[in-house]
């Protein structure tokens, strides 16, 4: 399995699309951090800041992760790298698991600019506000502004950043599954995947309390974005476990879809 992951990252390192996506998330992370600072400093109001709400980590990473799934899975069906892996000694289960590990790694890389901007922002000790609820990293940055930055807070910051990678992977698990179902149509997987993620994300607020309760056990719950330096480790662990369970479920579902699939 390790060979397949290494091969994935060899290819990713030389692929333009992943570099472009990383630059986009970096720009978004810088803009949202700067806006957060300007609001705190009184240079900008909340209404003006609303225009950049679409650039927060929650919104951007949902979109970027759908593109990544399309490229990583369907792209490899298109250029026949998955066929090549299967005609070697790799089993179909190995291929699915390796792809999930690579996918999680890529989501981690795409999330990195948001985490780094928050960390650098906290180190500057400049003031930061929380203009958008849909941003875990800005919430942590805002917390750091209001409290003294301690070693414990930095550890929690790192733990929450890692847990958020699991949350985003679990959310995008449905797109991962679609990649193995639809196979060689990256654009279709990206667009439909993004629509599904968005609709599921909104459904908890649309269908009231009962739906919200059900959704609280899914990675699409609003609770998943409520992590901050104030969160206790039990809450963080709960979010991590729910996300891990969903990642395992989506990996298993992807394997079930791929187990006897025809590979063109």
């Amino acid at each position: 399995m390790i060979n397949l992951i290494k091969a994935d990252f060899y290819k990713i390192n030389r692929s333009l699309i992943y570099k472009v996506l990383f630059i986009i998330t970096s720009i978004c992370a810088v803009i949202t951090t700067v806006v957060s600072h300007r609001i705190q400093a009184g240079d900008m109001d909340f209404v003006s800041a609303a225009t950049v709400a679409m650039l927060t980590d929650v919104v951007m990473l949902t979109l970027v992760n759908c593109v990544v799934a399309g490229q990583l899975i369907c792209g490899d069906f298109e250029n026949k790298l998955i066929q090549s892996a299967l005609t070697g000694t790799s089993s179909r289960l190995t291929v699915v698991c390796a792809k999930m590990v690579s996918y999680t790694g890529l989501i981690g890389i795409m999330s990195l600019p948001f985490a780094l901007c928050s960390l650098i922002g906290a180190a500057t000790k400049a003031g930061f506000s929380l203009p958008y609820s849909a941003s875990v990293y800005l919430a942590m940055l805002s917390d750091a502004t209001q409290n003294d930055v301690t070693g414990g807070m930095l550890v929690k910051f790192a733990v929450i950043s890692l847990v958020m990678v699991l949350v985003y992977t679990a959310q995008a698990g449905i797109v991962f599954l679609m990649g193995f179902l639809i196979k060689n149509k990256p654009l279709v997987v990206t667009i439909i995947g993004y629509l599904i993620c968005t609709v599921i994300g909104m459904s908890s607020s649309l269908f009231g309390d009962s739906m919200e309760k059900i959704m609280s056990y899914s990675p699409f719950s609003a609770d998943m974005y409520s992590l901050s330096s104030g969160s206790d480790y039990v809450t963080i662990a709960k979010v991590a476990l729910i996300s891990l369970a969903w990642i395992v479920a989506f990996t298993a579902a992807s394997f079930a879809a791929f187990r006897k699939a025809e590979i063109k």
């Binding site: 290494k6 091969a7 030389r14 790298l81 066929q83 299967l86």
Partner: protein, 304 residues
């Protein structure tokens, strides 16, 4: 000594109501080049995909290197393949593509990249990306990828499809070289029998999902051999004249008394004159023998 490396037994594959492979059984022995011949849609690629595990048969079994079931799947590392078009990342160079597959297959030897590029004649492509390669270059790179694991069995699906005549000859020579120098067994498909003639040592003719015939090169040559068919009442005298006057023993007296003369097929007038001069009265004198195309058509039962 040759040994059986692949045995596909009674393979049936259906897509919906369409039976694509119907009770197909083939056996491949080591060190030989098998030509899998069939028209488009005959089931060649489907059969290859069953062997490679890219598709799972509805029934039947595939034995690889003497192993069956799950154990057979583990033996797939001893195979290399090029199915339809090669698996290339177009923004990578030839060497980078080879490296990607080398990493994927866990091959530590980095030198294998240069050796294989040399083998397939792509060592001078430098920083040129695969997207700028000609079709022939892409096919050769695909073959290099198929050879990365130093496989014992190489499966090539229509590798000469769409190539110009020079490209066809190059690939043909490369395949023969691999078989001769590395002792590889090669299964190569084509929809055109003459295309594989003299490249393959054995031919499997498949049509409408069924294996119609398995034939060796020698048998094929025998069937497609051109000869002069001479009918006369005095077969003994005819044989003597052929030996003494034309200086040939390359003829066969058939049980019905006719003689098949394999020489002088392009000098029929000369033969005719010699027979006349020696007083041999012929009842029949004609050029016989099938072309490769006609033979293939006669096997698959289609009109030309």
């Amino acid at each position: 000594m040759s040994s059986i490396i692949l045995k596909a037994e009674h393979i049936i594959k259906k897509y919906g109501a369409t039976t694509v492979l119907n009770d197909v059984s083939v056996t491949l022995e080591s060190g030989r080049i098998y030509g899998l011949i069939g028209v488009n849609g005959a089931g060649k690629t489907t059969l290859m995909r069953q062997i490679l595990g890219l598709s799972i048969p509805d029934s039947g079994e595939i034995e690889l290197f003497g192993k069956r079931g799950r154990e057979a799947a583990a033996e797939r590392g001893r195979m290399g393949c090029l199915i339809e078009s090669p698996g290339l990342v177009l923004n990578l160079t030839a060497k980078q593509n080879l490296r990607l597959h080398r990493i994927m297959h866990g091959i530590a030897d980095k030198d294998v990249e240069d050796k294989l590029l040399e083998t397939v004649g792509l060592s001078n492509t430098g920083k040129k990306k695969a997207k700028d390669f000609s079709l022939g270059m892409k096919q050769r790179l695909g073959i290099a990828i198929a050879l990365l694991t130093n496989p014992e069995l190489v499966i090539l699906d229509e590798p000469i499809n769409g190539l110009d005549p020079i490209g066809v000859v190059e690939i043909r020579e490369l395949i023969k070289k691999l078989c001769d120098e590395r002792g590889m067994t090669i299964l190569i498909s084509s929809h055109n029998l003459p295309e594989l003639y003299q490249c393959a040592t054995d031919y499997i003719i498949i049509d409408k999902g069924e294996v119609k015939q398995e034939i060796s090169l020698e048998e094929l040559e025998e069937k497609c051999r051109h000869y002069l068919l001479i009918e006369t009442d005095d077969t003994e005298k005819l044989a003597t004249v052929l030996e003494t006057q034309l200086g040939t023993t390359n003829f066969k007296v058939m049980p019905d008394g006719t003689v098949q003369l394999y020489d002088f097929t392009d000098e029929r007038d000369k033969v005719s004159d010699v027979l006349f001069d020696n007083g041999i009265r012929t009842k029949g004198f004609s050029l016989m023998g099938e072309t490769l195309e006609n033979y293939f058509i006669s096997v698959v039962g289609q009109k030309a």
